[in-house]
Amino acid sequence: MSLELLLIIAFGGALLTYLVGKVSYKGRNFLAVAISLALVAFVACLYGKTGEETFYYGFLGFNLVLRLNMLSWFFAITIAVVGALSIIFSLSYIRGKEKTDFYFLMMLLVNAAMLGIVLAGDLISFYIFWEIMSWSAFLLISYNRGPALAAGMKYIIMSIIGSVCFLVGMLSLYVSFDTLNISQIAPVITSASSGYILFILTVFGIAFGIKNAVLPFHTWLPDAHSEAPAPFSAVLSGILIKMGTYGFLLVLYVIVGLKLFLGLGRGLFSFHSMLCLLGAVTIIIPTFIAMLQTDAKRLLAWSTVGQAGYIILGIAFGTNLALVGGIFHFFNHALFKALLFFAVGAVEFRTQTRDLDSLGGLAKKMPVVFIGTLVGICALIGVPLTSGFVSKWLIYKTLILEGSPFLAFFALAGTWGTILYSYKLIHNVFLGQLPEKHKTVEKAPFSMQLPVVVLSVAILLFGILPGIPLKVINAISTSFGFESLNVGLWGITSETGALNTVNIFAAVLVAAALVWLVFHLAAKSVSVPQEDSYAAGAHIPKDKYHYTAEFYNPLHRMIKPFLRDVINEFYYWIASCVRRLSDSVRHVYTGDVGHYVIYIILFLAFLIFVQVKWKPW
């Protein structure tokens, strides 16, 4: 009953917000925030509960089921929190734009649909919610018109291909096992042949891989993320693509099960190592592409592809630590990527640009957003004391100890690439010299600062006390049949090496205090304006500080020839082939009735000729 109520609030609230918006925009804003916060509270209250309930009998002969367990709760709370923050962020971001009622309707609808996906207990309702999510996301991506339309089109076409694959898999499961209830498929699928399981994993893998932007299905993501409105980019990157992750978890661990999944094929040519390899490639290539971007949101979008690789690698590797690390990284990525998109959105809101070559020096103008970005990039890199470190540590550790140093190498090298692009982001936006045209920039409005602050605090909290989320994730992994890890509030203890974040925290704190003391005791420094800088006797004219443009130029020159997005070009080639084919078909289907009459007569004449000549009938 309670799960139905949750979805009724989510979907009904979305429609109600739209209707209220027609009367008063203040009431609509209040309602939208209230509903999204109510969802957070509601989901939080469901902690620890499990259960299954049928909410619709006889839909095309199926019963639609909702189901709650630790896995779906963990995803649901992430969705609710990031969704609520994005609604709050939207309040000032969207003010003064067109069709704001529609915007809020779609934002709430996407969140509701995602809640539906993670709570779905059978594949039919999963599919219904999945489609609602895909289509409302399409409408939001193309909200800004112009290039956003093309990006949305690219997204929805790939999304439809994914949905078709999902449908094929679903029908095949129904034909084989006569049920679509997830908990009923799981026990009977063990009797299936390994070829059939490989088929199921492949079709679902394509469906979820497209949503999760795993190479080679990533091409929709950079366009969609950079063109969407900033609050929705945060949702898109933070949680919407993670529905693919949820799907992978569902298929690999809940439906097929760990043993069957690891037992497919042998050595390097098993499904499991192929998926790991795909994850590793997904980490490394987009990371290098991200370094070359000059659009802040596009840079973050490529970074999302790369980080999704860590999650896939963790999930596909199939050890306890890797799975825990992968799920934890999903959670962290939702936090820090939403934070970074909010930060970039706030900058764009105030300066009307997100071009990394023309910004700079905003740290003094927007201090809160700057600190938020700093925390965000630290978590993205995985600096100790942010939550990103713990999840990456878990993944690296298991990769090394299980004897896959090359996968570990990809993951670690990806991190060093991450440093380069995330430093570029913070340097080009917040550090360096403030251009004259941005001298009057004000600090971000409160409704934009609030989500940034909340997420920054969460990242630091879960970095110093990783035990809080790890406890939930540990419960998830035990429900998949793994042994329970020894999780404490401060980290993980195990026989193969412990992680103790409190030691690190204390050490950094004491060392920093010590250095600060020395710094403070030494002779005082004078604060100088930015123009007063040393240039070896030369004069640097105002607004001539162009060294942020092409920040990594030497590297750029070296790696550019290797980084063509061949896959994207290949898709475009297919698209152009299809278009040419359709064009040539149009020469036949002219739309002129006279032509069609001629075709019919010619065809009849042909039949008569055949009959007269050979008498086959």
């Binding site: 740290a363 100790p384 004897g403 440093i419 690190i504 930015q530 920040f551 590297l555």
Partner: protein
């Protein structure tokens, strides 16, 4: 407990003394190679004391905090590194934590320098980060080979296994990795021919351009720590660590002086040349080392 606290206090101080000694020694050796007399060994200490009393300019809050963070990061890494038997925090996270804590120092410097709002600094940082990407590739392969070979991520275990068997630099697959580490050591230390990011003649000392007074002093101390950390890591991973700090120091000295003498005679690379070098021979050696290690293991 008391012993642990003493170790925690002692190890950064020892590291500082060794690092500053290396700074002075480097100048002296370079001078002798150049047929000069060179400054006295304690010249860095004199400079630092002088710098702390000098007035300096600040470009903002991040300019101050960055340099503090950077030095604090280096001090923390020292706590995780065994120095002879002195290793207060080795048990919490192992080599991976060291690897990650080594990030804090360059990140802090980069953030601090970024707020300096000087074109030379931006070029310096850009070069520094590219260079670090360059040497991290072979370095990661080397560390992974070591961790795969000893089947652990704890640096203490790597040391103790070596002490009971033989040094990894003379054991079969790992000597390739050791050689690779030695080849990239000057890049990690940021000395010639890899001093692209702080090249005085090209970019006015790069990252250091806006530093004066206490900032320069702290940056110098940070550099001293980096000298200590990268050399100590090599000694721990490949020369079997040591049973006591004195022998450990002697091993470090040998590694450092060898590295210095070989590289003092090279002119400075351009950044592309540096990357090409780093991604060619050292990476190849490290890659081979890792493959053979993996083959032997399975």
């Amino acid at each position: 407990m008391v012993a642990k606290v003493i170790k925690i206090i002692l190890s950064p101080i020892l590291a500082l003394i060794v690092g500053v000694f290396f700074l002075g020694l480097a100048r002296k050796i370079m001078a002798r190679i150049h047929w000069r007399y060179g400054p006295p060994l304690i010249q860095p200490v004199i400079d630092m004391i002088k710098l702390f009393y000098q007035k300096s300019v600040s470009h903002g809050r991040m300019f101050d905090l960055g340099i503090i963070l950077s030095l604090a990061g280096s001090i923390v890494v020292v706590l995780f590194l065994p120095f002879g038997r002195i290793c207060p925090l080795s048990s919490s996270g192992g080599l991976l934590v060291i690897l990650y804590m080594m990030l804090l120092a360059p990140l802090g410097t980069a953030l601090s320098g970024g707020q300096g709002a000087n074109p030379n600094i931006s070029i310096g940082i850009s070069r520094k980060l590219i260079l670090s990407l360059g040497y991290e590739v072979p370095l990661l392969l080397v560390l992974l080979a070591v961790m795969t070979h000893y089947k652990t991520i704890s640096i203490m275990e790597v040391v103790s296994v070596q002490q009971s068997t033989s040094w990894s630099i003379i054991s079969f697959p790992l000597f390739l990795s050791g050689l690779s580490y030695f080849l990239i050591l000057p890049a990690i230390l940021g000395i010639r021919p890899f001093d692209v990011s702080s090249a005085p003649q090209e970019v006015s000392s790069g990252i250091m351009a806006e530093y004066g007074g206490k900032y320069l002093a702290l940056a110098t101390i940070e550099h001293a720590f980096v000298l200590f950390i990268s050399t100590a890591l090599f000694v721990n991973l490949f020369l079997g660590g040591a049973a006591n700090p004195v022998i450990f120091f002697v091993k470090m000295l040998v590694v450092f002086v060898l590295g210095l003498c070989i590289n003092a005679v090279f002119p400075r690379f351009r950044i592309e040349q540096a990357i090409k070098y780093l991604w060619k021979w050292p990476t190849l050696l490290a890659f081979l080392g890792l493959i053979i290690t993996l083959a032997i293991r399975s």
